[in-house]
Assembly symmetry: C2
Homo-oligomer: 229 residues x 2
């Protein structure tokens, strides 16, 4: 195992060179030389040139899997948000490395395809767990696909705004929270009704008046109160 | 303008040949010859070899745009479902042509990229209209991206099941309706509350008992009844 500092140096060297000379014009030997190591060291750290651009992909993917693995159907909404937050925080910690990679993936097709494939891995991971939590409903597959898509889309939306400099570093997580609140609201409305029914309505009435009567009507004086959005 | 029958014959010839010889091994001349026309006729109908695989893409895209263009924020949920239904019905009408194309796009990277690009065009179209309907909310962009994604994902889910033979021809639209009911429920829960509030709750009570009281409570005896999912 090559220790993290070498990987980080190789990634920094690769991004510098791709920026200076272009992705196609840079060889693995160039990257190794810039990082002050040999070709063999490069290949102990990364399988190929483009791997140096995504040095922590597997590690973050595993962290996401572990977070989802720890959840149950009851804790699913929290788990999904926290798992997506792990990914966002990783990018925020990378800082300029992430922004440089974003510029590269926008201009180099090989890296863009790689980026799309990475996003699909996240999406499959979320979909797999959400499907498991749906139980054996006939439409579990559809629900899982929709819900996984929502989480990944909301995450990517905020991430992209941060990468483009439209959201400041210290405001990105608040924007993520707002996006995820929207998503979990949509999650809840799509939740399996477990033998009951889900009712959605809009009202201009004062909720302080409506909700007590509604709770009494449902015979649920305090447990699982209606949520409002 | 080449009349539809020629385009249809060229598409049928192209799909036959791609199936028999492979996509790369088939030339435009081969396709024209199989359809009993000349190379010039092919190029009056299609810009390139791969266009013959998606003969009605622009036409369906325009039909979707027209349907969305006719909508208002109030009629948006219906418009979105009907626009997506236009796409599904087009595939159902194509029948075996659609299924052969699906096999081809699964195995030929050039056609798969083309297919992904087509789907992205639909997604952008839906997103553009949904964004317009959201007005000037600060999170209009996010909402539009999420909602457009939901519609396209649900449509593709049902379409893929039909293409794979997992849903019969005469059951596909009912499955589409069920998928869209799920999506519009999620839409509603994410809809701007327009000064009012959206309430979502789950109940095991009999809806026949709950809904009349709820309607009376909301002062809406018949108009805009609570929806259930």
């Amino acid at each position: 195992m090559v220790k993290p500092p070498i990987r980080e140096r190789l990634t920094a060297a690769a991004l510098e060179l791709f920026d200076e000379r272009g992705y196609e014009q840079t060889t693995v030997d160039d990257i190794a030389a810039r990082a002050g190591v040999g070709r063999t060291t490069f290949f102990r750290a990364f399988g190929a040139k483009d791997d140096a651009v995504f040095p922590h992909h597997e590690q973050v993917l595993l962290a996401v899997r572990d977070r989802l693995e720890a959840a149950t159907p009851e804790t699913a909404p929290v788990a999904v948000v926290e798992a997506a937050r792990l990914v966002l925080r990783h990018y925020l910690t990378e800082g300029d490395v992430a922004r440089t990679r974003y510029r590269l993936t926008s201009s180099v097709p090989a890296l863009r395809h790689r980026e799309i494939a990475s996003m699909q891995q996240y999406q499959r991971l979320f979909r797999g767990y959400v499907a498991r939590w749906q139980g054996d409903r006939p439409d579990a597959g559809l629900r899982a696909e929709l819900l996984a898509n929502l989480v990944v889309t909301a995450h990517n939306h905020v991430l992209r705004r941060w990468l483009r400099g439209l959201v400041a570093d210290d405001a990105a997580e608040a924007e993520f929270d707002a996006a995820m609140a929207l998503v979990t609201g949509m999650f809840a409305s799509a939740e399996p009704a477990a033998g009951g029914s889900i009712v959605v309505f809009r009202t201009d009435r004062d909720l302080g008046t409506v909700l007590p009567t509604l709770r009494a009507l449902l015979g649920e004086p305090s447990a699982e109160p209606p949520r409002t959005a």
